[in-house]
Symmetry: C2
DNA sequence: TAAGATAGTAATTGATTACTATCTTTTGAG
DNA sequence: CTCAAAAGATAGTAATCAATTACTATCTTA
């Protein structure tokens, strides 16, 4: 317990980021203080400023951490699938998995998007979402070209709806108070989404 | 200007609530202070506490105000439509209209749902969303019974996606930074939603 | 019009915030 | 083994927050 009190900077930074991600799962991100982060890490508050120049820098690091992980997970999931529709499903489920593993992430993202001023962290969230949207749109266009999706599909709207479907599940879990139920509701949500975009009138068999 | 400095309590309360709703359109709700509310109202900070026992009470009043207005608008829109599908569309558009009129509302709702502890305001948001969800589910079931919607429709998932579709639009506008574009994107979003739930393979003509 | 009730002001409170200056302990390379 | 640099502890700072105080201006009504 008292063994690892002194850590190299890299590890301490990593632990700080993970602490914030964890804390976002239990607290309103806006109410997370440097003191509460430090307490969670069993370190004094001042110690954090050995590794980060400001609190904003911590948030930036957190968003960066999440952005890297989530995009990596999505890409990995996408690589294994063959058709565009299968790719969408894999990405959807990978996204849900990530959220269930890190329940604080949606709260953190939302919290950043609340900021009126374009803080660095907010800009990174915007960029992440933007890239995500473009990736989806390209995928949807490909599916349309292949005849897998409706010929008259509005791929921009469909990309927005993809994200919205996940958002709806997140919101649903916020209402219910249980994050775990997302996983159960996810397949039904994706099936419904599919029925809106697929060319053939067919659910998952 | 200096005429209406003294107002009856009811009017001052109403003005306070509207001020907070307005402020939510420009600031992170979590960063709204009693001082900033008072400044926006051209009143001293202490004056607020003549009408509200605490800041939390202000938030409760704000959520109450929004909940009443939005439900009233939704019900009014629903009454004019005949079929369940037409009712859904009317509610969708009424919801979008309300958001474009009060851009701070989604931010405010989100902000309340961020709270970990079940504050009175948070509970009210939960209750509002819950009622909304049930209303939608009943409507979807009716549409299914009438053969207007898919026979195999998962109405719970469809209700969640209805909210999610709006959420997606909100998020999209948060990314773009423009709230006005919601109105332009709304029809396409609802058309896509329809294609997922409607019995007939047909968009809006 | 006198008197009580209502609404608002100005100043201040203790608590909390992000951040910093200074001292102490730990670590690891030579 | 030594010792400098890295990492953390201690103990602050100024600023900001919600809330409260003592007092004043305005309205209502008997």
């Amino acid at each position: 317990m008292s063994k690892n009190r002194h850590l190299p900077a890299d590890e301490r930074k990593e632990l700080t980021v993970r602490a914030v991600v964890d804390l976002c799962g239990r607290e309103d991100p806006a109410r997370i203080t440097t003191a509460s982060i430090a307490k969670y890490m069993q370190v004094t508050q001042g110690a954090l400023f050995r590794h980060f120049p400001s609190k904003e820098a911590i948030w930036t690091a957190v968003v960066e951490w999440v952005a890297e992980r989530v995009m990596q997970r999505l890409e990995r999931a996408a690589q294994q699938a063959v058709t565009p529709l299968a790719t969408l499903e894999a990405m959807f489920m990978a996204h849900i998995d990530f959220i269930t593993e890190h329940p604080g992430v949606p709260r953190m993202m939302m919290g950043q998007l609340q900021h009126a001023r374009p803080t660095p962290a907010r800009r990174m969230v915007q960029g992440l979402m933007s890239r995500y949207h473009q990736r989806l749109e390209a995928l949807l266009e490909e599916g349309r070209a292949r005849g897998e999706l409706r010929a008259d599909l509005d791929s921009a709207a469909a990309a927005t709806q993809f994200i919205g479907t996940i958002q709806g599940l997140v919101m649903q879990s916020l209402i219910a108070g249980e994050v775990g139920q997302i996983r159960d509701l996810a397949p039904g949500a994706f099936r419904l989404y599919c029925q809106g975009i697929a060319a053939q009138r067919s659910g998952t068999p």
